[in-house]
Amino acid sequence: MSTSTPAATPAVVLSGITKRFPGVVANSDVHLTVRAGEVHALCGENGAGKSTLMKILYGMQQPDEGTIEVDGKPVRFRSPADAIKAGIGMVHQHFMLADNLTVQENVVLGAESLHGIGGKARKVIQGLAESTGLTVDPGVLVERLGVADRQRVEILKVLYRGAKVIILDEPTAVLVPQEVDELFATLRGMQEQGFTFLFISHKLDEVRAIADSVTVIRRGTTVGTADPKTVSSRQLAEMMVGSELPSPETRESTVTDKVVLLVENLGLVAEEGTRPVLDGIDLVVRSGEVVGIAGVEGNGQTELVETIMGMRKAHHGRVLLGDRDLTKLGTLARREAGIGYVPEDRHRQGLLLTQPLWANRILGYQTRTPVSKGQWLDLPGAKKDTQRIVDEFDVRTPGIDVPAAALSGGNQQKLVVGRELSGDPVLLIASHPTRGVDVGAQALIWDEIKRARARGLAVLLISADLDELIGLSDTIKVMLRGRLVADADPSTVTPEDLGSAMTGAGATSPAVEAVPGAEVEGE
C-alpha cells in the first residue's frame, strides 16, 4: 500500500456542505478531506446522505452552503461536465452501459471530441485498459462481458475522460467475493499510478480491507474520520449507527403465549439467479411481543418483510397469521387479515406524494371501513379518520387536503404509522420506522408502538438503529446473508455485541446465542 505524503495538497476538500430538500436536510455541515493518492472510504447506512454528498461532488446537485476544493483550488460544479473537467469521475452502482455497443463505443460515447471515435481512440483505450485490468478487445460487444468486466469498462470510461479522482458507488454490491479481490487488486495498482479513490460502502470488512482512511456519515452529517488499521469493525458500526437514544428503559414484559405470526422455513431465490436471498427462515411473533431483526443492510431484511407481506413470492415455506395460512394470498388479503405495514421507504412505498393526506389514508385500506364501502370509497369517512390520525399522532399540517409531499419527513412518517395502526391490526411490520425523522417524531412513534404492544399487538421491527432495536424489542434476531443466525436478549446485549454478530464475527457475548444449525461461513 502506498504511503501518502501528508504535506501534499489534498485531492478533494469538502467543507461545510449543506443540502436541503423540501422537508429534509440531506446533508448538514459535512466535512471531508481526501488526500491525493489514497483510497478514502465513505461509510454510512442507507439514507445517511452518502449519495447526496457524492452527487454534489460530481456536480449533479448544487450544495446550498459550503465549498468544494479540488487540488487546493475552490471550484463550483454546475453539472457533471464541470466535475469531469476538474478530473473527478464517478462509477455508478448501476452500470450505465449500452449492451448493444462495443467496449470502445461505450467508452467514447459522449466524449467523441477527445480522441475521435476511430483508431486514435482505440489506442488510448488500450493504453488505459491495462491499468484497469481489462483484457478484452475494445471491439467486443458489452453484452458479452461479465459483471466484473463491465465494471472495468465503467472505470475505463472515467479514466478516458481524464479523471484522477474516482468515486466508486458501492462497487462491490454486484460482485462475488473473488471479483471483489480482483477489484481491490486493480484499485491498489491504480493507486500506485497516482489515482485517488472515494469508495462508498456500508460493508465494513471491505472498507477495512481496502481503505487508507474512513469517514463515517450519519443522519446527513460526518461523524468523524478513522484509520481502518486501528479501528475495529465494531467501533465503525457504532459510529455509523450512533447512540442517540436514552438507555433502553426497563419495563414489564407484555409477551403472551398467543402466536400471531408464524414463519416456517421461508425461502426466496433472487430474481436474476439462483442465489438464495432468504434461506430457511423460522420466526415466531407472539401477541404483545416486539421481535427485532438486526443486521447490516442488504442481508435479506427487505426481502423478508416483502415476502411476509406477499409482495414477493416465497420459493418455499409458509407464513401463518394466527391459524390462517397466508402463503398463497396477495398483499391486500394479508393486509385485510390484520397486518399493518410501515414500509422502509415512505416516499416510494408508503405514500402517494401528490395526493392529499386523506387519499393517503385510503391506500392499503381501500376495501375496508371507515374509508371504503365495498367498491365505493367513503370520502367523508376517509377525511374524518384522517383528521383523527392528524390529531392523535400530532401530524403537523395545515389541513388534510395538502399533498403528502408538502409535509416534513417526520410528519409523513407519523401519518403512515397512524394509518397502519388503524383498523385494529394484530401484527405490525415496521421497517426502519424512525429513519430520517426528527427526534420528536421518533419519540412519538416509539411511544405509539409501545402502547400498541401493551394492547396485545405483535410487532416485527426491522431497524438499522441498534439502540432502537434494543430499546423496543422483547427478542432480537440477527440476520446475516439471508438467514437468522443468532438470537440476542435485549435486556443484556450491547450494541457492540450485536454489531459483531451482524458482521458475522461470531458470538462473543453470552447475550448473543448462535442459532443451532445456522452455520456462518467464516471470513
Binding site: R20, P22, G23, V24, V25, M309, M311, G330, T331, L332, A333, R334, R335, E336, Y341, P343, D345, R348, Q349, G350, L351, L352, L353, T354, Q355, A359, I362, L363, G364, Q366, T367, S372, G374, Q375, W376, L377, L379, R396, T397, P398, V402, P403, A405, A406, L407, S408
Partner: protein, 355 residues
C-alpha cells in the same frame, strides 16, 4: 387556493403561445394571421360547421377517454385506433345481419362494439401481463392488424357488398338506428353524442368515487406504493386495458348508428391518435378532455375555411401539435412551481419553514 391558477392557467398560456407560434408560421409563409384566424372563427356560423363540430367533439371525446383510462396508470394504449376500427366493422356486420326491436337492436350493436374493442385490447393486455411485452409496441402492431382485418371483413366474398364505387357492410336495419336532433339545414346532432357525455360522467365517478379508480390512480402515481398498499399491478393492467379497449370500441358508434348505418371505405381514420393528443391536452380530466375535444373539432372543421383565404389548411396540424407540446411543457412548469409553493406555505403556516 390556486386551483384556478394550477388547472386553468397552463392550458390558457399554452393555447395563447401556440396561437402566437402559428401566427409566426403564417407570417413567414406570407399570409395574414388575423385574416386566417378570422376566417376560422366565422366558419363556425357557416352551413353545418357548428353541428359538425359538436358531432366530431363527441367522437374525439370517447377516443380521448379511452386513452385517458390507460394514462391514469401510465399505460399507453396507442391501440385505440385499431380497437375502434375492428369494433366498428364487427358491430356493423353484426347489426346488419338481422333485426331486433328498436332500441334493443341499437343497444345490442353498442354492446358488441364495446366487447370487440375490449377483446382486441385484451391481446396486448395479456401479452403484457404474462410475458412483459411493452403495450406501446404491441398496440401499434395491433393497429396494423386491425387495418388488414377490417379490409378483409368487408370484402365482397366475406361480409361486404359493392355499392357504386364503395365497398361497405350490409346496411343496418332501421331498428338499429339512433335518431339525432335535427337543426334543419344546419345538420343533425348525433343522438349518441349524449353517450359520450354519459361516459364522461361515468369516468369522473369512477376515478373519484370508486375503489377501482383509486387503485388506478395509485398505480399511476407510484407503482411501488400501490404494491405495498395491496394493489395488484397485473390485475390493474388487465382491467384498465380492457376498459380502455371497450370504450375505444364505442368511438365510431355515433357516426355508424346516427348517419352511415354501415362501415364503408370512407371510414374516418386517425381518431385514436387524436385521442392521445386530446387526453394529454385535457390532463386526463373529464372536463379538460371535453374542452380539448371541442378545440380539436373546431380546428378540424373550421380549418376548411383556410383554403378560402389562400392559406394551406395543414397549418391546423401545426397548431394542434404546438398546442399539445406547449400544454405538456406548461403543466410541468406550473406543477413544479405549485409543489414548491405548497411546501413553503405548509412550512410557513407551521412556523417551521421546511428546514
Amino acid at each position: 387556493m390556486g386551483i384556478l391558477r394550477g388547472k386553468l392557467l397552463p392550458p390558457a398560456l399554452a393555447i395563447l403561445f401556440s396561437a402566437l407560434l402559428c401566427g409566426v408560421a403564417l407570417v413567414v409563409s406570407g399570409a395574414n394571421p388575423a385574416e386566417a384566424f378570422g376566417a376560422m372563427v366565422s366558419q363556425v356560423g357557416e352551413g353545418t360547421t357548428a353541428v359538425d363540430i359538436i358531432n366530431s367533439t363527441g367522437t374525439y371525446y370517447i377516443a380521448a377517454l379511452a386513452v385517458a383510462i390507460g394514462f391514469q396508470m401510465n399505460l399507453f394504449n396507442i391501440g385505440v385506433e385499431g380497437q375502434y376500427r375492428v369494433a366498428a366493422v364487427v358491430a356493423a356486420v353484426f347489426g346488419g345481419s338481422f333485426a331486433l326491436p328498436p332500441g334493443l337492436h341499437a343497444l345490442a350493436i353498442i354492446l358488441v362494439a364495446a366487447l370487440v374493442g375490449a377483446l382486441w385490447a385484451a391481446i396486448p393486455a395479456i401479452l403484457k401481463v404474462t410475458r412483459g411485452v411493452n403495450e406501446v409496441i404491441s398496440t401499434i402492431m395491433m393497429n396494423g392488424l386491425a387495418l388488414g382485418l377490417a379490409a378483409y371483413l368487408i370484402r365482397e366474398d366475406v361480409f361486404g357488398e359493392l355499392r357504386g364505387n364503395n365497398i361497405r357492410t350490409p346496411e343496418i336495419h332501421e331498428s338499429g338506428w339512433v335518431p339525432g336532433i335535427s337543426f334543419g339545414a344546419s345538420g343533425t346532432v348525433f343522438g349518441l353524442v349524449f353517450l359520450a357525455a354519459a361516459l364522461g360522467i361515468g369516468y369522473w365517478v369512477m376515478m373519484n368515487r370508486t375503489r377501482f379508480g383509486f387503485e388506478l390512480k395509485a398505480s399511476g402515481e407510484s407503482s411501488t406504493a400501490a404494491a405495498a398498499g395491496g394493489v395488484s399491478a397485473k390485475k390493474m393492467v388487465l382491467i384498465a386495458m380492457l376498459l380502455s379497449g371497450g370504450i375505444a370500441g364505442l368511438v365510431s358508434m355515433p357516426e355508424i348508428l346516427g348517419r352511415d348505418h354501415t362501415y364503408n371505405l370512407n371510414f374516418p381514420a386517425g381518431i385514436g391518435f387524436s385521442g392521445i393528443a386530446i387526453a394529454l391536452l385535457g390532463r386526463n380530466h373529464p372536463g379538460g378532455i371535453a374542452f380539448g375535444a371541442l378545440l380539436w373539432a373546431f380546428l378540424d372543421k373550421s380549418g376548411l375555411a383556410l383554403d378560402n383565404v389562400g392559406v394551406p389548411r395543414e397549418i391546423v396540424t401545426i397548431m394542434q401539435g404546438a398546442i399539445v407540446l406547449s400544454v405538456v411543457v406548461a403543466y410541468e412548469v406550473v406543477r413544479r412551481f405549485e409543489l414548491a409553493a405548497e411546501q413553503r406555505r405548509v412550512g410557513k403556516e407551521l412556523g417551521t419553514v421546511a428546514a
